[in-house]
């Protein structure tokens, strides 16, 4: 990569209509859509291009114990330095990818529409705030986003918001444990349904059908799982110029503080460049977007760019996920697949404010992996002592190893999770770290998030439901997330809410067309504009907002 970096032209493009910062799914869709309308677009991406032909090697890195969790997409190190404040040590670098394709490179691929109530939390429950748009405004863009990403699903969810068309592809069939869960749920009056996902259940858009590698997170070797680089490639075919390894260090304005003049970025050789454009789109997700705005403070914008409201970075949300694991008295899934195929949104909409939204996720729990035990010398792969001090016990080989694998083997575990809505709170925020910078001197992000009583009561309700289902199945609970232990919480890796949308410039950062209130030629197209997060995975809403914003920009510019 080092050699290649010197051969690539990373100098600014001339005569650019729109400069997009960030080549994840939002930036890719905006760039592609605007290019289709004839606009001249350049995309600046801080991370690298990842060679698609190396995805099998990435899979091996993921499956072998010699490599750390950030190795596959090269996350971590000085570039990705961050701090956390507050009681939760938020694992930021395990929740994102920097590079062409963005965090969709490592995502699971679940795509759902937000529910109508998610846009009306203040009106319905007196909680949080209402969005300035409603479900009906986004509905056609949701349908378009499902076609763009390629979504496999079925209209079998009685709790979903209204939709007009079938999904582009049929849903993935249920697994063996799905059927066991569904029977128990039916006995309890809980309805189950398919889990829509941006993963090809049949060939789609020139990409393969899912092959079932079982390594969707962090890497899909077959390309059946959608990732943002799909639209980056299409945008490039339409003439968009994408400059990778070009982190934007600040956005600059000229004499008019309401008009940006350039995105200043640094290339691998250390050179600072200035990309001029008529309009700028920041599409860097819920953490890097506020970081860039805050780091772009000027005399005219002393608290950060587009931050007259003081809300840039505030109302940070992620979904918290809690799990109950249990042991069956019979076999569960014998063959691994790597993604869930059944959900229940029966507890998503609610009459009272608390408990809040719950999405039930029925895991396709894999049987014990013989590879994992073998590569840990026959020891328990979860044995931290063995990992830290590998010489304490000799590895087992041959028949001794096979005996160890068989001792540890089980296909009787099942687990059910709950994705729980986290309400926006001003104190949960992304700010600039006081004492940490990246190698370019830009302050690192500081992430502060904690759960409130609302989430805790919702988690309690989720556990009640879990236990009722597992009891009905005759399964014995063996492990449950401890919500009082911040390190035991599983985050959804969904960064939302830090430059929220609204009509009032005093309380929001962008307007309903995603233009910032304070800077005329700046749009933010990102999960950061969410007002609330619901309990649904956010990527389809990100994509729908991107397609809508691109349509508005094409009309406005």
């Amino acid at each position: 990569m080092t050699g290649a970096s010197t051969a690539v032209d990373r100098t600014p493009a001339a005569d650019v209509d729109v400069c997009v910062v960030g080549a994840g799914v939002a930036g890719a869709l905006v760039a592609d859509s605007l290019a289709a309308e004839g606009y001249r677009v350049v995309v600046l991406e801080g991370g690298p291009r990842f060679d698609e032909e190396s995805r099998l090697e990435k899979m091996e890195k993921h499956l072998r114990p010699e490599y750390g969790p950030g190795a596959v997409w090269r996350m971590g190190g000085p570039r990705d330095r961050f701090t956390t404040s507050g009681p939760v040590t938020y694992p930021l670098n395990r929740t994102r990818v920097k590079g062409v394709g963005g965090s969709t490179l490592h995502w699971l691929g679940i795509v759902q529409r937000l529910h109508e109530k998610d846009f009306e939390m203040r009106s319905r429950y007196g909680l949080a705030a209402d969005w300035p748009i409603d479900y009906a405004d986004l509905r056609p863009y949701y349908a378009a986003a499902e076609r763009e990403l390629g979504v496999a699903g079925a209209a079998d969810n009685p709790f979903a918001p209204p939709r007009e068309d079938d999904y582009p592809m049929p849903a993935f069939p249920r697994s063996r444990t799905d059927r066991l869960f569904a029977d128990a749920c039916a006995s309890l009056g809980i309805e189950t349904h398919s889990a829509p996902q941006a993963r090809n259940s049949e060939p789609y858009d020139g990409r393969s059908q899912c092959q079932g590698f079982d390594t969707c997170v962090p890497v899909c070797p077959s390309g059946a799982k959608y990732s943002g680089d799909v639209h980056v490639r299409r945008a490039e075919r339409r003439g968009v110029r994408v400059i990778d390894r070009a982190p934007v260090v600040r956005l600059e304005h000229g004499t008019d503080p309401a008009t940006l003049s350039a995105a200043v970025y640094r290339t691998p050789d250390g050179t600072l460049h200035r990309q001029a454009a008529d309009h700028f789109v920041v599409a860097c997700g819920g953490v890097e977007t506020p970081r860039l705005l805050l780091a772009s403070a000027s005399a005219a914008h002393p608290d950060g760019l587009a931050n007259a409201s003081g809300t840039v970075g505030r109302y940070f949300m992620d979904h918290v996920t809690v799990t109950t694991e249990a042991r069956l008295d019979r076999s569960g899934n014998r063959e691994p697949i790597g993604f869930e195929t059944m959900h229940s949104q029966q507890f998503y909409d609610h009459d009272e404010p608390v408990p809040g939204s719950i999405q039930l996720i029925f895991d396709n729990h894999s049987p014990t992996s013989p590879r994992q035990v073998a590569l840990h010398g026959g020891r328990d792969p979860e044995d931290r002592v063995g990992l830290l001090f590998p010489g304490l016990e000799r590895d087992r080989w041959g028949d001794d190893l096979l005996a160890a694998i068989r001792e540890r083997f089980t296909d009787r575990l099942v687990s059910v999770r709950a994705g729980v809505e986290v309400l926006p709170r001003a104190d949960n925020r992304v700010s600039l770290a006081a004492d940490a910078t990246d190698p370019h001197g830009v302050p690192a992000p500081d992430v502060s998030i904690q759960l409130s009583g609302h989430e805790r009561r919702t988690i309690d309700r989720a556990f009640e439901i879990h236990e009722a289902i597992l009891d009905e199945m005759g399964a014995e609970v063996v492990r449950q997330t401890d919500p009082s232990d911040p390190d035991d919480l599983d985050w959804g890796r969904h960064h939302v809410g830090t430059t929220r949308m609204g009509t009032d410039p005093a309380t929001s950062v962008v307007d309903p067309r995603l233009r910032t209130h304070d800077v005329d030629n700046l749009s933010i197209v990102s999960s950061s504009v969410f007002v609330t997060g619901g309990a649904a995975a956010p990527t389809l809403t990100i994509a729908a907002l991107a397609l809508r914003a691109a349509e508005h920009l094409a009309a406005d510019l």
């Binding site: 091996e60 114990p65 092959q211 590879r371 096979l402």
Partner: protein
């Protein structure tokens, strides 16, 4: 449990080479000839001999499986594997006066354990025992247990990393 050439290809390409997925995988996607391996015949014999130590005795067809798998590795990985094998072979000659592949099964295991291969952290660029664990022991075990026949030892037809799970995850057995 007899390992097949397909098992080796699946381990290399995650099944892609045998299921028609268009991926630039490796030379193993093409017909392989052990003679084309970038390892010397002595190095290759040592790798096969290591496999006989770390693979369960129920596994048959090891030589063909290993030769096919090694032939599909890229030159850098094959070279590193060959160097590690040559190092193990030197240790065998020092300890027993003969090459590793010519030793009895017990003596082969003694050489590896005396080197500490069963106690060191696996490291692709570390000391000889660390490299032997990475390029020989762990790579061979990875190949075995990402193949259908290897995982079949515990009843799994399509293990993690094998790209045919889409056809089997719904099974009700």
């Amino acid at each position: 449990m007899r390992l097949s050439r397909r098992d080796a290809l699946v381990a290399l390409a995650g099944g892609a080479a045998t299921s028609g997925v268009s991926l630039a995988v490796s030379r193993a996607a093409h017909e392989t000839d052990p003679a084309e391996s970038s390892l010397s015949s002595e190095e290759l014999a040592t790798v096969v001999a290591v496999a006989t130590v770390v693979y369960p005795s129920a596994v048959e067809g090891i030589e063909r499986f290993v030769e096919t798998y090694v032939s599909g590795l890229d030159d850098a990985r094959a070279g590193a594997m060959g160097e590690a094998a040559a190092g193990v072979d030197r240790q065998a000659r020092e300890a027993f006066g003969t090459g590793f592949a010519a030793l009895s099964a017990d003596a082969r295991e003694t050489v590896l354990r005396d080197m500490g291969v069963d106690r060191v952290a696996s490291n692709a660029e570390g000391t000889l025992p660390e490299r032997a664990r990475y390029h020989l022991v762990n790579t061979l075990l990875y190949a075995l247990f990402t193949s259908p026949t290897g995982s079949g030892l515990v009843g799994i037809d399509d293990p993690v990393g094998c790209g045919s799970g889409f056809a089997t995850y719904r099974t009700d057995r």
